[in-house]
Assembly symmetry: C2
Homo-oligomer: 384 residues x 2
Amino acid sequence: MQFFSSKFKLGILGGGQLGKMLLYETRKWDIHTKVMDASPEAPCKISCNEFVQASLMDFDAVYNFGKDVDVLTIEIENVNVDALEKLENEGVKVYPPTKALRTIQNKATQKLFYTDHNIPTASFTRFAYTSEIEDSISNGGLQLPFVWKSAQFGYDGQGVKIVRTPEDLKDLPNVECIAEQLVDFKNELAVIVARNTVGEVNTYPVVEMEFHPEANQVEYVICPARIEDEVAQKAQQVALQVSKHMNHIGLLAVELFQTQEDEILVNEVAPRPHNSGHYSIEASYTNQFEQHIRAILGLPLGKTDSKVAGIMVNLVGSEGHTGNVIYENIETILKMDGVTPHIYGKKQTRPFRKMGHVTIVDENMARAREVAQKVKETINVVSN
Amino acid sequence: MQFFSSKFKLGILGGGQLGKMLLYETRKWDIHTKVMDASPEAPCKISCNEFVQASLMDFDAVYNFGKDVDVLTIEIENVNVDALEKLENEGVKVYPPTKALRTIQNKATQKLFYTDHNIPTASFTRFAYTSEIEDSISNGGLQLPFVWKSAQFGYDGQGVKIVRTPEDLKDLPNVECIAEQLVDFKNELAVIVARNTVGEVNTYPVVEMEFHPEANQVEYVICPARIEDEVAQKAQQVALQVSKHMNHIGLLAVELFQTQEDEILVNEVAPRPHNSGHYSIEASYTNQFEQHIRAILGLPLGKTDSKVAGIMVNLVGSEGHTGNVIYENIETILKMDGVTPHIYGKKQTRPFRKMGHVTIVDENMARAREVAQKVKETINVVSN
């Protein structure tokens, strides 16, 4: 197929920041794109060839959107999979395949998948309703503390809560959920696996999430992770196992725990470009967005090595600020070497909303880490 | 001024490939853009916020286009400068400044500028009409061979001819022109200088154009140039002199000759992102398009060093092919490490038309050069 000519059409469900960064690459290769998003202010609205405003959960909207595209992909998992399945059955190439997407969409199913395929993951119990958990605690079937996760549609920390006392269960929605063992981890890691339509597979280097010592919030995504080679290899092997058994196509971002005993446990996966791969735009030979396009179009995968050390800092809305966004001190961070801000284009900020990210690259990791800290201490996402 | 919010508007005259690559960066920073181009199929038509279809040489069109933008820039020199001057007088920030643009637009004026400022350049004679040249040859005022250049609107080798015999003058247009001494050069080099609105200046490394041994056509743009440090420093010094005396703002691409005696002579300049800087997208800490935006918005300039060695190969239409474009064997070059094609999105190819470029990066220059040769031998821009 000639992707690099006008006969081909790529559909993307979701028009947020991930879709926007995918569009840098479709523009680079002049690939015709059609994007759907519920918001009239979606960052993708420009840069795509066609834009459709509709809900990603609406069966008819998704089905009608996908009928005239050659390849259909997603930038977010929360889409109507029934419509995707119908399209897939009618010959549209849907990547990730709907089977993998269904497994991932439901966290209980996802966890069962790991167990079924002997993929190491924290032990867990599935509950049809949150209300069943209290009984399980009373009769000794479940020990406190644990991590409660809603089975459906958790995204960016939504739908996740650490439960230390029965009190903590009170405000949780009464839905299908899992109670997962709290992992005492040394590091939180991630590996992005790329797999194309003809089965070629490649992994990116292991990245490390560095947490704020007090706030328990990811502050930096660091590539490569500052861990032993042996641990890194194990992490990549586990990620490859997940990819293989899921038969996924495109990118699969595998989030992992490195335990105190250097075990590797799968936390969860996302079948698309991922926040943990944003560093690749500036640091890698092939950035994750180009790689996703290569994979779903059946093109040869690109080299996943890094040119330089890369660190990513998320730009999230500051607490106490809701309204028209201002990126305070952005000109100060532009003075620092190897610093590239990405502004997603959302007009309104609110506390903790992802508004952009900043990549810091340097041939020396220690220096990159120093600059990253300065960036973090300098820039503020506020409202006027 | 808050560039990173919705109050600011950047105007770009010209919607071709350079504009398109500028738009990657305005999208990255969510800067509101308005683009004008005569073609309804301009590559910039998507990715900008507003598109106006009109001739860049039309006074009224340019003036009306520029009235509501905060900063106005160009991706091509052939624009109506009178309209720009009127806008400049009315308070629109026009970069490059119209004074520099006028100097550059006319090659005779440009050459006189070098002479006036003691900037080394090949000796030349200005003629009001090509027809005056024959007299000058007959009376011994001008020696053959020389390079004939039209004073106005030469672009991409148009309006330039090597004159070896009086016969060669026959088909040339009877216009204002210069006859320039033919330089016996060892290397053709280029230096991109960035200068922002507050006078901060930075230069990119010297690049080298490698020519095909027989066809006398640039095959590769190589960064860094494989020349002695001393020569590179001299080239950068000369480029800085041109920038300083022109008081330009934005990017200035300075094309240079390195003579057999290692003298550096200025060939010509372009006050905008330039083909010789395309390698920077993949190889540099700050690519030339982001740097141009930093410069014209008065932001701090970014680091111009390279992360890795970079080589650029232009994708031009093959001889004998006119029509709907096909990029033959593009999938083969995608298998090679560190290879990134850029497809400009022109639907029709014709012989020698610039349709895209390919960047090859590697930590090792010799290896990059080998891959570049394979790329060149593999890909073909043809029609179906």
